[in-house]
């Protein structure tokens, strides 16, 4: 019924599984530690299972490429998908190939270390600085924790760094050998890595945009180069356009293509998709709709589904109960039969399309199809009352008209039951009303009100079903006013029924083949982007401001009996140094800039160029991956900061080398500087060792040791009470 909410995969379990619950089982032997899903593994794990079972799902947290990579691990490990991912800490059963599920993220996380080294080398910094960067990434506890589980951040960071590295390689080749083989290789790899990053998480978009901007800037400099002819400039432009725009877009589409091809069975998230989409999935709506007539005709029996699907999918419904004569607030009603929107399949959801000029409720032979603009009456199948609206305020939305099934009380309130069918997605004005495919509005002929789902749910007298109203001031198009036919059969009077089943052969059509990939893609993409999670509270959620000082942590896992636990906690020294490096970089840059403006050149031009390009990538990468979170309204966690942190860490050796080369002029200063770097590095290593028990989850610590690890009051280290 309800869109899937993050952190509540199992459905019935009322507790958010992200909060470690007091565990029940005991630690298994042999498998990788921990042998039970920590934190978000339960979230991604359910999707891996669905991939294994080929069941369709929608995840609003991002595009499907990352999920598919995780599923690939499961596939290679021979996972059959049978595990109930509903509780953090529930022990993995034997059939879950934990090792291979966690292999890809760990591999990606490990490869980040050489990538960091290479990036610094390509930025023209010394091997010493590059080594420093690689070591800092290596000893960063938060990156280690995050890459050891079935989570997406390490894969995302890997692709981001790969994209940056390949662009730098490409740019360095640009100077002497353009259009060479390796030039093409690195250019194309940039585009591919970018699209993979975006495909794993939408966050990748930030780095993609940054690289596009840098590429644009570099190209702008090329335009000013008078040695290049216009034609070769054009070729350069086209090559970049192909590699950095065309290829990423097509790869992004291909992720969805694979996703939709893999998942062909109907599943738990069907309801949020349109009827047409559902009909394309095997086993769901397709089973019902197969072989039903395509064209709605006079006498058709139909169910009408609201297209919006919010707050839940529902069908136009009526039942014998009437509106109460007086509502609780004293307003009066027409006391006619209730019309609602009902979220379950029910016999009372059936309506018959009737020609106002004729009495019969069956389809004539040949069927007379209903077209756009035709005027119909809708007869409720079970009660045979007519859908009606009139100038009476609706029960919960007093500005709209009440919709009822008309009962003639013989008072001066005539039936107003004529509706004009308007097909919203028509191609021409003579289009026929089609099952599932046509989205129609019902415009009331007397009052030009439009049949609409108001979204409010009725009180007890309406059985908490959803309110349906006639919207008088229809302001433009909104999906709550649009309906489509879902189930459909041509009506036949009872006694003829058996005979006519054989006689009548309706126009049959396999609707699933009618929906193109692009149509499915647009719908799925739109749903992913617009699905909203209502859960805004979580025990370990944090605000973007907390990350920079690491005022928050996330408890990932707690051993069932001992005090062993895993936390997402960074290396405090690295985080602090990275912040200092960023501040130093910005202050120095501003100083240099102002001095250069006054024609004072403190450092040689080459060093300045290096300084600017390195900063553009590292500070730029940090800023684009961090600042947008201040504008986001979703629930944020510390791990969202990791991509930004990676860029910030790369900045540390850059700033250090610059300080050493250009500011430490005397030999004494230089040696003192080197000594302090060594001291600082040892402190990084020391902190790494101190926190490694909560990074790897072993060895288990005593209560006092745990209390000693609580360096900040705001950290939430789990301590058993007993």
């Amino acid at each position: 019924m309800v869109p899937p909410t993050r952190g509540e995969p199992g459905g019935p379990s009322p507790q958010s599984p992200r909060i470690p619950r007091p565990p029940t089982g005991h630690g298994g032997a042999g498998g990788p530690a921990p042998p039970s899903p920590p934190f978000d593994e339960v979230y991604y794990g359910q999707f891996v299972s669905l991939y294994m079972k080929r069941i369709f799902f929608v995840d609003d947290s991002g595009p499907p490429f990352g999920h598919m990579l995780l599923a690939l691990g499961g596939y290679l490990g021979g996972f059959d998908g049978n595990f109930l991912w509903n509780r953090i800490g529930a022990e993995y059963s034997m059939n879950v190939p934990v090792w291979s599920l966690r292999l890809l993220p760990a591999l990606a996380g490990a490869l980040c270390v050489p990538l960091a080294y290479q990036i610094l080398v390509e930025l023209q910094f010394s091997h010493c600085a590059a080594l420093g960067a690689a070591l800092l990434i290596l000893l960063e506890n938060s990156l280690i924790t995050q890459s050891r589980f079935m989570l997406l951040e390490s894969i995302l960071i890997f692709f981001i760094l790969l994209a940056v590295l390949s662009y730098l390689k490409f740019y360095n080749l640009q100077r002497h050998s353009f259009f060479s083989g390796s030039w093409w290789f690195w250019l194309l790899l940039t585009g591919v890595a970018c699209s993979c990053a975006v495909g794993v998480k939408y966050m990748g978009l930030f780095t993609y945009i940054l690289l596009l901007a840098i590429a644009g800037l570099h190209f702008w400099h090329m335009i000013g180069d008078q040695n290049l002819s216009n034609v070769s400039l054009m070729w350069h432009f086209l090559a970049r356009g192909l590699a950095l725009i065309v290829i990423p877009v097509s790869m992004y589409l291909s992720f969805f293509y694979v996703h939709l091809t893999l998942l062909y069975r109907s599943g738990p998230h069907d309801q949020i998709m349109t009827s047409a989409f559902q009909a394309s999935l095997e086993g769901g709506l397709a089973r019902i709709t197969q072989g039903q007539p395509l064209e709605v005709a006079y006498g058709s029996q139909i169910t009408l589904r609201n297209v919006l699907g919010k707050p839940m999918q529902c069908w136009l419904h009526s039942h014998t109960n009437t509106y109460p004569i007086r509502y609780e607030n004293g307003r009066g009603s027409s006391h006619q039969q209730q019309v609602t929107c009902y979220p379950f399949k029910d016999v009372n959801n059936w309506w018959i399309v009737k020609d106002p000029g004729m009495q019969q409720l069956v389809v004539s032979n040949p069927p007379r199809p209903v077209r756009h603009g035709d005027i119909v009456q809708l007869v409720h199948g079970i009660t045979t009352r007519y859908l009606n609206t009139h100038d009476v305020a609706a029960p919960l939305s007093p500005h709209s008209q009440e919709v009822s099934c008309y009962i003639d009380y013989n008072i001066s309130m005539p039936a107003q039951n004529l509706w004009r069918v308007e097909i919203v997605n028509r191609e021409s004005d003579t289009d026929v009303w089609k099952t599932i495919l046509s989205e129609v509005r019902f415009v009331h002929v007397n009052t030009s009100a439009v049949l609409k789902l108001s979204g409010a749910s009725l009180p007890e007298w309406g059985y908490r079903q959803l309110e349906v109203v006639g919207e008088k001031l229809s302001k433009g198009y909104h999906q709550s006013m649009v309906w489509n036919v879902e189930e459909h059969r041509y009506g036949k009077s009872q006694e003829q029924k058996e005979r006519e089943v054989e006689l009548h052969s309706p126009t049959q059509m396999d609707i699933s083949k009618n929906l193109s990939f692009m149509a499915k893609f647009t719908e799925l993409q739109w749903k992913i982007l617009t699905l909203k999670n209502e859960d805004t509270e979580h025990k370990y959620s944090s605000s973007a401001l907390d990350w920079i000082t690491m005022d928050t942590n996330i408890a990932y896992w707690l051993h069932p009996t001992s005090g062993a636990q895993i936390h997402l906690l960074g290396n405090v020294v690295t985080w602090a140094s990275a912040n200092i490096a960023a501040v130093v970089y910005m202050c120095l840059s501003l100083w240099y800039l102002i001095r250069r403006r006054r024609k004072v050149y403190d450092i040689p031009e080459g060093a300045w160029q290096l300084w600017v390009s390195a900063g553009g990538i590292c500070v730029g990468g940090w800023a684009v991956n961090y600042l947008p979170f201040f504008l986001m309204e979703k629930t944020l966690f510390l791990y969202h900061y990791l991509p930004a942190l990676t860029f910030q860490i790369l900045l540390i050796p850059i700033v250090l080398q610059h300080l050493g080369d250009h500011l430490c002029r005397s030999l004494l200063l230089k040696s003192m500087f080197s000594a302090s770097i060594v001291a600082w590095f040892s402190s990084v290593y020391f902190v790494y060792c101190t926190f490694s028990p909560v990074t790897y989850g072993e060895p288990s610590l005593s209560v006092t040791e745990l209390k000693d690890l609580r360096w900040k009051d705001s950290w939430n280290i789990l301590i058993r009470k007993h």
Binding site: G224, N230, K452, L473, Y477, H478, E537, R597, R598
Partner: protein, 749 residues
């Protein structure tokens, strides 16, 4: 409706020759005076031989006159409340009555409306209840006239800005005509709204910024100082009307940074001189606006000294200052002590008092114990007694010494009327399922260990006393560790539609879980007057901003509501109904003149194309004639400033979560119109430059310009009933005079 047309024609027709530059001999009058030297060079570009010296003042007078005529025409119609007049007119009345109210916008706009009403003899008695209410004998024309006056000033402002940027009279005239004949601008200027006031300050800021840039060669001259400080004044005005004014502050800020950067690179300027430049800008563009902005709020709080509908949005300490509020001139003991009888107010906006009553939670909703809710009104059931956790000490004994409650103490809260304790346990709360239920428990003050709460003051260390009104307090349930809070959700009928109170296990600091003590009765303590607790002006200023920001972000669209989207706006997709719904009503519909708006839209694309190709050409080192160089400079620099203004006033709306309306686009539309004037002038000059005989070139240039102006006027003639009122069948009816004009299905007039 018929009467409107001659008015428009009267305005337009006779002045055509002068305005359009139609007299072929004279050509366009718009030769930039300062650039006369550079103009002589090629014969190609159309330039007038001798521009009449009086052309500019005359043109300015003409556009001003037209602007005032179009804005003041049929101003009193319709004589009833239209659209948001119901808000802003009401707020104007509040100022006249000196009643305190709350609004999400800063006060300047409404203060000016109130002032205009006061000066024009409106007595503030009209209730402005809902749109459509007749004004009857009340004098409303003064307020409308004031807004229309400011709205009329936009046209000369835009005219002068474009003239300064492009040095071309035709460009300025084109801009002016676009704004004069835009039905949307006219409609928006004719009613008691904040928008004309906002746009007045905004355009004023842009004009003075541009003028100040024009004085760059004479820094520190009188006119330079004048324009610079005027920029600051206008910025304060724009910010003081709506927070959207922030965008123009950003525009001016960027311009200033660019300017300073330029000065810094000028090595002939000493650093001392640069420092002077910097200081002057800090003074005029930061300190002056800040001072004015603060002054505005000072006036606001001084004028509004009576209790009114806005009280509940503010803290108790603030409310104690308002005459008529029940906290006014009250005296209470200052520090909280055991045995005190208190009320607790939730700190969320319009949060209620902690409340309980004899009724129980119904069957099936948590434990069947006494309800605890938040209630917005003063009531005896809001009273609680503070007790120590141990039951033995009898605090009612008058001889026992007074013991103060300190930060970190464990306390019990006993409901005075029912003698039950504030209690919580691990049952789910009635509405917010992830929180715990809060109940009243126990008999005559005897309960269990789930009645203990630890009291903590925000930002204090242990052992400090707790102040009435001023201290922000958190109550932590000792047994479960959750925090007492109000979720803001309304309970169903069984809870008397009061607000839900829960105990939240998420330890986040939000106003929902903070409380303060408001009433405080303890006979053993000396009362002090609340004036001692009076918040300082800085605190009031901060508080009112917090409340405004929260109010703004609280304006969220509901799920099934049709809302206006930013991409609708430039294409003029849908307007706003200002007045009248039915056929018999006098209908006014806020919709831009589609010809003008679509021209603006096309021009933005055109501008982008031209600037990109020009920039690439310049970068490639293409040699341009001095004429073209001048044109490209105007396009890149002058046009760039305007285009930046458009972006700054449009793009941020895509990121806003609050409810948006069509009229939010109008500031951006002003920039877009100025860009249209500049771009088409440059484009026509460029095209005419290719024609060899200069007379032909001049004719093409003049002809193109004239065609544009005529097009704009004709479209205004077609669409003017939108602003000046329509009566009769709706446009969807073929018999309506507007039937042929419903070019888009989404228009509803």
């Amino acid at each position: 409706m018929r009467r409107a047309r001659p008015g428009a024609a009267r305005g337009g027709a006779p002045r055509m020759p002068a305005a359009g530059g139609g007299q072929a001999g004279a050509g366009p009058h718009g030769g930039p005076l300062r650039h006369r030297e550079s103009r002589r060079l090629p014969a190609a570009a159309p330039r007038p031989a001798t521009p009449p010296a009086a052309a500019r003042p005359a043109a300015l007078a003409l556009v001003t006159l037209l602007s005032f005529a179009s804005r003041f025409y049929r101003l009193p119609e319709p004589p009833h409340v239209c659209w948001d007049e119901t808000h802003f007119g009401k707020m104007g009345s509040y100022y006249i009555n000196r009643t305190f109210f709350f609004d999400v916008h800063p006060p300047l706009g409404k203060m000016l409306i109130g002032l205009a009403g006061y000066l024009s003899g409106y007595d503030g008695t009209f209730p402005f209840q809902k749109p459509g209410d007749r004004y009857e004998q009340h004098n409303y024309v003064g307020m409308r006239g004031f807004c229309a006056f400011l709205g009329s000033c936009l046209v000369p402002f835009a005219y002068l800005t474009v003239l300064e940027l492009s040095k071309s009279l035709p460009a300025a005239l084109l801009t002016a005509f676009i704004l004069i004949f835009d039905t949307g601008c006219i409609t928006l200027s004719q009613y008691i709204l904040l928008d004309p006031i906002l746009m007045f300050f905004l355009m004023g800021a842009v004009l003075s910024m541009v003028k100040c840039n024009g004085c760059a060669n004479r820094p520190f001259s009188a006119s330079w100082w004048f324009w610079l400080s005027l920029t600051g004044v206008n910025l304060a005005g724009a910010m003081g009307v709506k927070f959207v004014g922030l965008f123009v502050v950003l525009l001016v800020g960027l311009n200033t940074i660019y300017d300073l950067w330029d000065l810094l690179g000028n090595l002939s300027l000493s650093l001392v001189m640069f420092g002077k430049h910097l200081l002057a800008r800090v003074l005029c563009l930061i300190l002056l606006p800040l001072a004015l902005y603060t002054a505005m709020f000072a006036v606001h709080f001084t004028v509004l000294n009576k209790s009114g509908p806005g009280d509940g949005f503010f803290s108790s300490a603030f409310q104690s200052q308002l005459i008529g509020n029940n906290l006014h001139n009250v005296s209470v003991p200052e520090h909280l002590a055991y045995g005190s009888v208190v009320t607790m107010k939730n700190l969320r906006m319009a949060g209620g008092y902690l409340h309980s009553h004899w009724h129980l939670y119904p069957e099936g909703i948590g434990a069947r114990q006494q309800q605890v809710t938040a209630y917005l009104h003063k009531d005896l059931n809001n009273l609680w007694i503070i007790k120590k956790p141990d039951l033995d000490t009898d605090l009612s004994d008058p001889s026992s010494p007074v013991e103060f409650v300190r930060h970190g103490d464990i306390i019990r809260l006993e409901h005075k009327e029912t003698s039950r304790n504030l209690h919580s346990h691990q049952h789910e709360a009635p509405l917010t399922r992830k929180h715990f239920q809060v109940t009243g428990y126990g008999i005559n003050g005897t309960g269990d260990s789930n009645d203990f709460w630890r009291i903590e003051v925000v930002g204090r260390k242990a052992g400090k006393l707790i102040k009435v009104l001023r201290s922000q307090v958190r109550l932590i349930h000792v047994a479960t560790g959750c925090i007492l809070g109000s979720s803001g959700k309304t309970l169903p009928k069984w809870g008397w539609e009061q607000v839900e109170v829960t105990c939240t296990p998420y330890l986040k600091e939000t106003p929902n879980s903070l409380w303060n003590f408001e009433d405080h009765i303890n006979p053993k303590l000396p009362n002090i007057s609340l004036d001692v607790l009076k918040p300082s002006f800085a605190e009031i200023l901060l508080e009112s901003h917090m409340v405004m920001i929260r109010g703004n972000s609280g304006l969220k669209p509901k799920d099934n509501e049709v809302t206006s989207k930013p991409w609708h706006w430039p294409i003029n997709y849908q307007g706003l109904r200002f007045s009248g719904v039915n056929e018999t009503d006098y209908r006014v519909y806020l919709l831009g003149n589609p010809v003008i708006w679509w021209l603006n839209l096309v021009t933005i694309g055109l501008y982008l194309l031209i600037t990109v190709s020009t920039a690439v050409a310049l970068k490639r080192g293409v040699q341009l004639t001095s004429e073209l160089k001048e044109l490209s400079r105007i396009m890149l620099h002058g046009g760039g400033q305007i285009a930046l203004g458009w972006l700054l006033h449009y793009l941020p709306f895509f990121m806003m979560g609050r409810v948006l309306y069509f009229h939010h686009y109008f500031p951006a539309m002003l920039f877009s119109s100025m860009l249209t004037g500049i771009t088409w002038d440059a484009l026509l000059k460029f095209c005419a430059g290719f024609l060899l005989p200069s007379t032909t070139a001049r004719k093409v240039y003049g002809g193109g310009f004239l065609a544009l102006v005529l097009l704009i006027m004709y479209s205004f003639y077609l669409f003017h009933p939108l602003s000046y009122g329509m009566i009769g069948p709706m446009a969807s009816d073929p018999s309506s005079p507007m039937a042929g004009l419903r070019w888009m299905d989404s228009w509803e007039f």
